[in-house]
Symmetry: C2
Subunit: 241 residues, 2 copies
Amino acid sequence: MAGSNLYPEKWLSKASTGDRIAYELRMRIISGMIEAGSTLSENKLAADFSVSRSPIRDALKILSSENIIQLERMGAVVSGLSQKEIEEIYDVRLLIETFVFERLARIDVSELVKELSKIFEMMKVAIKYHDPDEFSYQDVLFHETIIRAANHSYILMIWNNLKPVMESLILLSMRNRFNEKYDDFDRILKNHELYIEAIKTKDRTLMIKSLHQNFDDVQGKVEDLWRSQQMLSEGVEQEND
Amino acid sequence: MAGSNLYPEKWLSKASTGDRIAYELRMRIISGMIEAGSTLSENKLAADFSVSRSPIRDALKILSSENIIQLERMGAVVSGLSQKEIEEIYDVRLLIETFVFERLARIDVSELVKELSKIFEMMKVAIKYHDPDEFSYQDVLFHETIIRAANHSYILMIWNNLKPVMESLILLSMRNRFNEKYDDFDRILKNHELYIEAIKTKDRTLMIKSLHQNFDDVQGKVEDLWRSQQMLSEGVEQEND
DNA sequence: ACAAGTATACTTGTATACAAGTTATTATAA
DNA sequence: TTATAATAACTTGTATACAAGTATACTTGT
């Protein structure tokens, strides 16, 4: 039953078993393959993944700190991501990226802009070659690069807590869009271009505008996610008895 | 060597061994008793606390997620808290409390105000009876109560990541102030009163003002901390060989 | 005296074992 | 049939064991 592998294996090069399992479980939870409300047993998970309880416990601790499961007396109960929580995640992204922008406005951003342009090119290539995973990777990297540029360890800490869930969300959404709504990417690309421009010119209004457009994209992401959840749960309905 | 117990034991009623050790190590690191730059060995810690490596590993994972240590190949290297990082923590507090205030402005806060008034009274009693630990507890609870009222799970997640370090910081600072700068508390109390008033009247300007006064208090906290660090490190200079 | 290679004493990550406690089920009694 | 008590099958948390890898120190040869 450990066969699915929703999370790209090549991104796990130097991850420990516990980390790998956390990545995989996260994808299964966010995709809806593991339903919200169900409880996970350490022993069952250990058997399913053919490992001992140690890495399973590591994984559950990670997922617990990300708010997608809750560690209770008996078993870890899956909270999953409701629409409200997805919006909350983007609240936080908006919050920290706005903060970061204020910091960037005071420093030299030429290096950052160059780096973002590179990532932007990568995103275009990923679209050209129909690679949703690569596109997601670059998309996440784009925002992480901006946040790192602010050189603020506690803002980076928040990002690090948010990143895995965000990444999974984007990954699932993009895989769906590459199949169905291919022309969405024009808008997404345009939006990132605007973002770079805002940082380059330190134009606060433009940055807020592009951030909010990005936020509006969430609605699409959410819809995609629900569709993919439905799709998946139809296939694995009977698996958790 | 497990004897110090900087963290109040009565706050640890239902905590696991790993949690307890995390609380204790956190206090030792933030107080400067464990110096920044030193490396911690799981085996040594296990021996010092007379437990196995399992809870030690749990504790180190927790401290790592709080950015006060870094898990490397060989040993966990202590980052500690520089003045820059303390300011960053307050950046984040400012950020999330401002966000929360905007949310509170749209809902009924009468229950919240009542609760905050109760905590405020508790703080006054704690001062009256010279109890820095109790005062710290209520101070942290005050802000947590405000944040919880916003009913935003991901903002709460950020708070939960920040809280232990904040709590330790406040605890150490308050213990010092009760010895030396006793009249500081008039100002701190006044400030919290202003905060309640701001929430009650939904006066954004007043809230920002009191938040910034609170922020200015940080400077005092930092100075206290440095003094307490110096104090402690003089006493335990030779202990980590 | 110094360079290079080997050996030893660390390190982390995972597996397994055990203790204590909780839930559910089954058996027994009314 | 129903209520209660006892047992069995879970659960988590901690301890211990083992494997694989890394840095330090030591030995050996020149």
